[in-house]
């Protein structure tokens, strides 16, 4: 592990890569701060820029964007009570009341320290567990991978918010469907291209991500404008300081929430949202009666706990991506797409074949958190001015960058029309309350799922017995069945009860 950390450190500790970490954190904060835009959009917008870098530098930049966007989401939650992403909703419970009490700087500083501590502890846990898991998964065969991918897809739906299970499953199927457009590489035949040359290579994941997240978010911002998005109290550098008693009161909450957040983040589909709510609930139940009354009215612990947990969960979600090559969330699905675009296949071999990428991502997470604290926090008073830009200007600019992000990769205007078409479809689905992340996950995993199924069937002489021949596959398939049946039964029972 120490050798690996040294490889990661030598890769990250160059001026170029440190600047990329900083640029990523700052850009992520800027984008994540805009209500409605989260880390998925931020990363999708930045991917075209990373095509000019080597894979390590590209991933370092994107990891910085990820953390920056989460922190930016917390900033808008605290300053204007408008969470950029679901993962920072719990931050607003106590962060906004603290800001309303005239202490926005204090709230932001707590969020930054908690994020830093959560991210750092989780990065250490990741460094300790990832190689072990990668070693373990080296023994996996196609059948195991097929079962594992199926488990990832079903768990994402199973962990979706209450009552949305079927919709999430539906979107996963839609993502799988879209992944079959283009040339089937094993047989060399075209599928669902309708004779169009532009579709021969299939739909690009970047286009799909931009259309379903960035563009449709921008259109939703027009359709459903939220109220005032301007901070009420001015921020200054001096207001960002914390007293020692404040720090002492939040340290135990941060430690507990960081560990909890990491392990929740490792589970596919669980992610930052569940981690932050869980940490908030745990801290509330552990607090004294007097402290409990403060929750929801400006409790420091109530702010620190979800912040530490959501950052730790973000790091935790890299475990399945880096060790198994399976994304556990929409954001890591986008990162997987970026890795594939660089020609890198994540999975257990990544640890052995591309150690500098594997370790530089882990080390850059630590540096990303450090950058957020040391460089980004002092910049917050200036970055927060972005919230003063009127939406009438902001929305078309977001649309322009989304369209250009895709056009500059293919230089094909067909992609622009396709994006608009998919964005319309995505807006309709959003209005019908369908989640978008499972679609992206299904799309990214679709090709790999098909390849592994084909390979597993070839090895098993065309027999589906491969599903129960090996103990690993059988256990994973049993978990798939549980992940489908349990939430489905619950959904049906709840629907009947209503």
């Amino acid at each position: 592990m120490l050798d690996g950390l040294m490889i990661g450190l030598t890769t990250v500790l160059t001026l170029h890569n440190l600047m990329l970490v900083f640029a990523g954190c700052a850009t992520g904060t800027l984008i994540g701060m805009l209500p409605g835009l989260g880390p998925i959009t931020a990363i999708a917008l930045m991917i075209p820029i990373t095509y000019g870098f080597n894979p390590s530098s590209g991933m370092i930049l994107l990891a910085g964007v990820y953390y920056g966007a989460i922190f930016g989401g917390s900033t808008s939650s605290i300053l204007v009570n408008a969470p950029g992403v679901a993962g920072t909703v719990a931050t607003a419970f106590d962060g906004y009341p603290i800001a309303r009490q005239g202490q926005p700087g204090k709230a932001l500083a707590i969020a930054a320290y908690a994020s830093f501590a959560g991210g750092t502890m989780a990065a250490l846990l990741l460094a300790a567990t990832a190689p072990f898991l990668a070693d373990l998964s080296l023994g996996f065969q196609s059948a195991d991978y097929f079962a594992l991918m199926l488990l990832g897809l079903t768990l994402v739906s199973a962990f979706s918010s209450q009552g949305e299970y079927l919709k999430a499953l539906m979107m996963t199927c839609l993502g799988l469907m879209l992944s079959t457009v283009g040339t089937d590489l094993s047989a060399g035949v075209q599928r669902f291209t309708f004779g169009r040359m532009d579709l021969i290579d299939g739909l690009s994941f970047l286009m799909l991500a931009m259309a379903t997240f960035a563009l449709s978010e921008a259109v939703m911002m027009v359709l459903k404008p939220t109220g005032n998005s301007r901070p009420t109290t001015a921020l200054t550098q001096s207001s960002l300081k914390l007293s020692l008693p404040d720090l002492r009161s939040i340290i135990p909450s941060i430690s507990r929430s960081s560990v909890l957040g990491f392990f929740v983040g490792v589970l596919p589909g669980a992610g930052a949202t569940i981690a932050s709510f869980l940490a908030y609930g745990v801290e509330k139940s552990l607090a004294s009666t007097k402290d409990q009354a403060q929750f929801g009215k400006g409790s420091l612990k109530g702010l620190a706990a979800p912040e530490a947990a959501n950052n730790a969960a973000c790091t935790g979600s890299f475990v399945p991506l880096l060790t198994l090559g399976i994304p556990g969330s929409g954001t890591t699905a986008i990162l997987l797409g970026a890795l594939l675009a660089y020609g890198i296949q994540p999975g257990p071999r990544l640890f052995i074949d591309e150690p500098e990428i594997f370790w530089s991502v882990i080390v850059s997470m630590y540096f990303g958190n450090l950058m957020l604290l040391v460089l980004n926090l002092p910049l917050i008073p200036y970055i927060a001015r972005l919230l003063l830009v009127p939406r009438e200007y902001l929305i078309p600019i977001i649309m322009f960058f989304s369209l250009m992000g895709v056009y500059l990769v293919s230089f094909n205007v067909f992609d622009i029309h396709m994006m608009v078409f998919i964005a319309i479809f995505a807006v309709v689905l959003r209005l019908l309350e369908y989640p978008m992340a499972p679609l992206l996950l299904g799309f990214i995993l679709g090709g790999m799922l098909e390849d592994n199924l084909r390979r597993a069937l070839a090895v098993a002489d065309g027999q589906f017995s491969f599903l129960w021949d090996r103990p690993t596959t059988m256990i994973l398939m049993a978990l798939v069945v549980i992940a489908i049946i349990v939430p489905l039964t619950r959904a049906i029972t709840r629907a009947r009860g209503n």
Partner: protein
């Protein structure tokens, strides 16, 4: 009707059509004999999608209040979608700078900006600085077919 049920019906139609067209994927004789060929995955997905859609239709769900959706800002949103599509059509004939300025100014106005002066300044500065940045990075952005033809007509070499 609940949004679950409406979505379920739409998805059932979509996955039925998808499954139907999966049968049109061309296969040679040997591929047809294989257990798993280019049509297999689409058939599996169509089946899974169809089952999910049926469950969405059959599982009872509370009725959706559609009136809230009627009160959304549909007009500016539709105009923006139309403008994006138009941007795609005009990007190559008009060139990057002109098409971008037109797109941004129209979008700003569609979202309620009254005066034209500031939108034009903002749009011009964004498009020109983006074009210059791409030029520095060596990325070619089309100057526009019309401009190219005009320059060719005037005998100006680029």
């Amino acid at each position: 009707m609940s949004n679950n049920r409406l979505g379920g019906v739409l998805f059932l139609l979509l996955f039925s059509a998808y499954g139907f067209y999966a049968g049109d994927i061309p296969l040679d004789y040997w591929s047809e004999q294989e257990l798993f060929n280019a049509r297999s995955m689409p058939y599996f997905v169509a089946l899974a999608g169809g089952i999910c859609a049926c469950l969405l239709i059959l599982v009872p769900a509370p009725k959706t209040d559609w009136s809230s959706n009627l009160n959304l800002n549909w007009l500016p949103a539709c105009i923006l979608l139309l403008l994006m599509s138009l941007y795609g059509f005009l990007l190559e004939p008009l060139g990057f700078v002109v098409a971008t300025v037109l797109f941004l100014v129209s979008a700003f106005v569609a979202l309620g900006i009254k005066s034209l002066q500031r939108p034009i300044v903002v749009a011009l500065s964004i498009s020109v600085s983006f074009w210059l940045l791409m030029d520095v990075l060596g990325i070619y952005l089309t100057p526009g077919v019309l401009l190219e033809q005009l320059l060719q007509y005037l005998g100006v070499e680029r």
